[in-house]
């Protein structure tokens, strides 16, 4: 096997999983760097910062960012984080590596399509990043790309020409890649399970990957259509999203007949399910990690499965809660509000079952377990602010304020990242054969955990004061004078939290060379990926969480172990 076919154009699921992981790690570093620059500008809007000038000689001439530059950084930050980190690692990364191992399959059902979907994702990332260097720079429209401004080209501002087009192309590619991935995951889970691995014996991670793939299969299909239409509006002069009588930058547009609301519907029909695409795989990881490190079966396994299916389905019914202030009929608002709050029920089922899992267990507070516990904490915090936002009357006020920024960072950003970190600490020994340092891991954990709360909780307060989001400078608003201090605090907490991530990167690299060698099953877990490699198919005889089975010879029974004696 040549270098190319082994490491680059490999069809092996483990290699592809690692490729996704590395791609997303790159994306995460870039996205974090962008957020640091944004906070720097927000807090010191007038300061002349040499670094900005070096990076953007035109858009930050003299070391001060233009508002447009700020918005382009924000757009790229959001897009990179949502698509190329949160949608990529938990499914493409962990899923590809561990799904076949956990269900006892040799590989994914369609290895070549698997390779294709990775490379399409990588290409999409390159296309997106190239928006930084084209004329006009990166787009300004946010990760939601609302028309009309996203649909009219460069008259809407720098970056809304070529940069915005590259954004749409990148997202369309990403859709295609995700669809291929989803087809692969579902087929693999349905067709390739080893003997005895009935659906209800699968680890919850596999269930989570299945439900996520099902959501992707439908959500990305809709976003794909929306992307094509936006591209037509931009490049071919159609007006799907453009009404009559628009005046942009003192120019009257001669389009008519379309509706920007149509994009909002299409985007959020994808967008809300997307937030579950980001978080469900993490829920699977957390369920498993809590069980392993409490030495107890997952509490209410079946309820967990049904809750995930319910969340997946209900997730498609609530897109309107992002459009409460769009002027929709109050009856629609009411319906969307009730459905939104209904998701709280399966979410609460999961939360209580996590608590039930650790209740009375023998907790081993390794770093992986700390991350999983922290996930539950932030999931509850973010869910509570979600309930506030789900009330149309409150959301009228909160919409487009920092309250929303706080909400989705806590529940989508932070929760998903915590689950990724839990997964990394838990599975790293399997991926590399070495352990990560627990000491470094713990320092990283405590600083990050306190850090993200210090960053995102104050944002809720700023939002309650009425602080709008997507502004590059709050200096000129009298009513925001009082939150300037708060923003300074947020920025410093953010710098600290970002800096401590280097410790994590260092831990990864250190472990590759110096980490303690891991045995086959360092955590004494029950699922099949922890068996030594074998050419015989494993035959499964029990569920995925047989910890502390009474009368068994040790406190865990692997899924293929027939007898506990």
């Amino acid at each position: 096997m040549s270098f190319l076919s082994r490491y680059i154009f490999s069809t092996n699921h483990k290699t592809i999983g690692i490729q996704y992981f590395v791609l997303a790690l790159t994306a995460a570093l870039l996205g974090t760097a962008l957020s640091v620059l944004m906070r720097l500008h927000l807090t010191y809007p007038e300061a002349k910062i040499r670094l900005f000038e070096i990076l953007w000689p035109n858009a930050a001439a003299g070391g001060v960012m233009t508002p447009e530059l700020y918005l382009s950084l924000m757009t790229m930050h959001g897009t990179i984080m949502v698509f190329f980190v949160l949608t990529t690692v938990p499914q493409g990364g962990f899923g590809n590596f561990f799904l076949p191992l956990q269900i006892g399959a040799e590989d994914m059902a369609f290895p070549r399509i698997n390779m294709l979907s990775f490379w399409a994702t990588a290409l999409a990332f390159l296309v997106l990043c190239s928006a930084f260097v084209v004329e006009g720079g990166a787009p300004l429209a946010g990760w939601t790309a609302y028309p009309p401004l996203s649909a009219v080209g460069s008259i809407a501002g720098p970056g809304m020409g070529k940069g915005m087009t590259l954004w749409v192309v990148s997202i369309a590619l990403f859709c295609a890649a995700s669809l291929m991935g989803a087809i692969n995951f579902i087929t693999t889970i349905l067709e390739m399970r080893t003997r005895g691995m009935s659906l209800f014996r699968m680890p919850l991670t596999c269930w989570a990957w299945l439900v996520t793939a099902l959501i992707s299969l439908f959500a990305f299909a809709v976003l794909f259509a929306a992307g094509i239409l936006l591209l037509l509006d931009r490049e071919a002069g159609t007006s799907f999203f453009l009404p009559a009588g628009l005046v942009i930058n003192d120019r009257i547009l001669d389009r008519k007949g379309g509706s920007p609301l149509l994009w909002q519907h299409l985007f959020w029909f994808f967008g809300h399910p997307e937030v579950y695409i980001a978080i469900l795989p993490g829920m699977g990881v957390v369920s498993t990690v809590l069980s392993v490190f409490s030495r107890k079966p997952v509490f209410g396994y079946r309820a967990m499965v049904w809750a995930m299916l319910a969340i997946g389905f209900l997730g498609f019914l609530v897109w309107g809660h992002h459009m409460f202030i769009s002027g929709m009929s109050p009856y629609s608002s009411l319906a969307f509000s009730v459905l939104t709050l209904a998701i709280g029920v399966p979410s609460a089922v999961k939360t209580f079952n996590w608590l039930g899992t650790i209740l009375g267990g023998r907790l081993h507070l390794e770093t992986a377990m700390l991350w999983a516990l922290a996930f539950v904490s932030v999931f509850v915090t973010g869910g509570l602010s979600g309930i506030a936002l789900g009330q149309p009357a409150l959301d009228m006020y909160f919409h487009d304020t920092y309250f929303v920024v706080g909400h989705f960072h806590i529940i989508m950003g932070v929760a998903a990242v915590f689950s990724i970190l839990a997964g990394t600490f838990y599975w790293w020994p399997k991926m590399t054969g070495r352990m990560l340092s627990e000491t470094l891991g713990r320092v990283h954990f405590y600083v990050t955990f306190l850090g993200v709360y210090a960053v995102f909780i104050p944002m809720h307060f700023a939002g309650i004061v009425g602080n709008p989001r997507r502004y590059s400078d709050f200096g000129q608003f009298e009513f925001l004078k009082d939150v300037q201090g708060l923003h300074k605090f947020i920025t410093h907490a953010a710098f600290l939290t970002a800096a401590v991530q280097l410790l994590f990167i260092f831990n990864l690299i250190w472990s590759l060379y110096r980490g303690k060698k891991a045995g086959d099953n360092p955590w004494n877990a029950t699922t099949l990926e922890w068996l030594p490699p074998s050419h015989q198919p494993h035959i499964v005889v029990r569920g995925a969480y047989d910890y502390s089975v009474p009368g068994a010879r040790r406190d865990f029974l692997m899924q293929n172990e027939s007898n506990g004696q």
């Binding site: 989803a182 080893t194 009935s198 259509a225 094509i228 007949g257």
Partner: protein, 204 residues
């Protein structure tokens, strides 16, 4: 053990159709939602613009579109025969039926192109403009039919590959069956585009 338990307990295919056809079914379901979205955008645009034009005269547009429907339906029939022949392991017949299907697909594309040219040249309907000043009429028409035509074109190429693989003895029944699912789906989508786009806008 009930039947349900045995089929779902692993070590085999619960749907008894194999991975490739299942993968194609999943693609079809997803693509169906993409097309449904496009049709919903079309419906939305029509509702938003009260004076929607009705330019399709009986001849040539409706006649041509009806012939196209017949062509596509017939291509589905030859496709069924191709799968049938493959199941009997008659590779020669399979390749013949696949070729017939591709031929009908190309006929569909050719008539469709003529229809487009007629609309553009004679009726002055383009992607962005038309005599009624309803720009979304052309946008939705060419958007929908264009996306469908792209599917037919990809389908012809795909069937070509499958025919070649079958002739060289490389491909199995699975491959032919899977390409058949795709082809029938493209046919099925037209069963919605034809009435919703053409018949809802006939010139009376």
């Amino acid at each position: 053990m009930t039947r349900n338990e045995t089929t779902w307990e692993g070590g085999g295919s619960p749907f008894a159709i194999g991975a490739k056809p299942l993968g194609m079914w999943l693609f079809v379901v997803s693509d169906a939602l993409t097309f449904s979205t496009m049709l919903m955008v079309y419906t939305y645009s029509r509702l938003a613009n009260p004076h929607w034009p009705a330019p399709f005269a009986f001849s040539p547009s409706i006649v041509q579109a009806t012939v196209m429907t017949f062509v596509l339906l017939s291509s589905s029939l030859t496709m069924v025969w191709a799968v049938d022949a493959m199941k009997r392991d008659d590779r020669r017949k399979t390749v013949q039926y696949l070729s017939a299907t591709m031929f009908l697909g190309i006929v569909f594309i050719v008539i469709h192109m003529r229809e487009w040219v007629h609309l553009i040249n004679d009726e002055h309907i383009t992607l962005t403009a038309n005599p009624w000043n309803q720009p979304l009429f052309g946008a939705t028409f060419f958007g929908l039919t264009g996306l469908h035509m792209a599917h037919v074109t990809i389908g012809v190429v795909y069937l070509g590959i499958v025919a070649l693989g079958t002739r060289m003895g490389k491909f199995k029944t699975d491959h032919v069956e899977t390409s058949g699912l795709y082809w029938h789906f493209v046919d099925l989508v037209w069963m919605f585009i034809f009435p919703m786009v053409y018949l809802m806008s006939v010139k009376r």
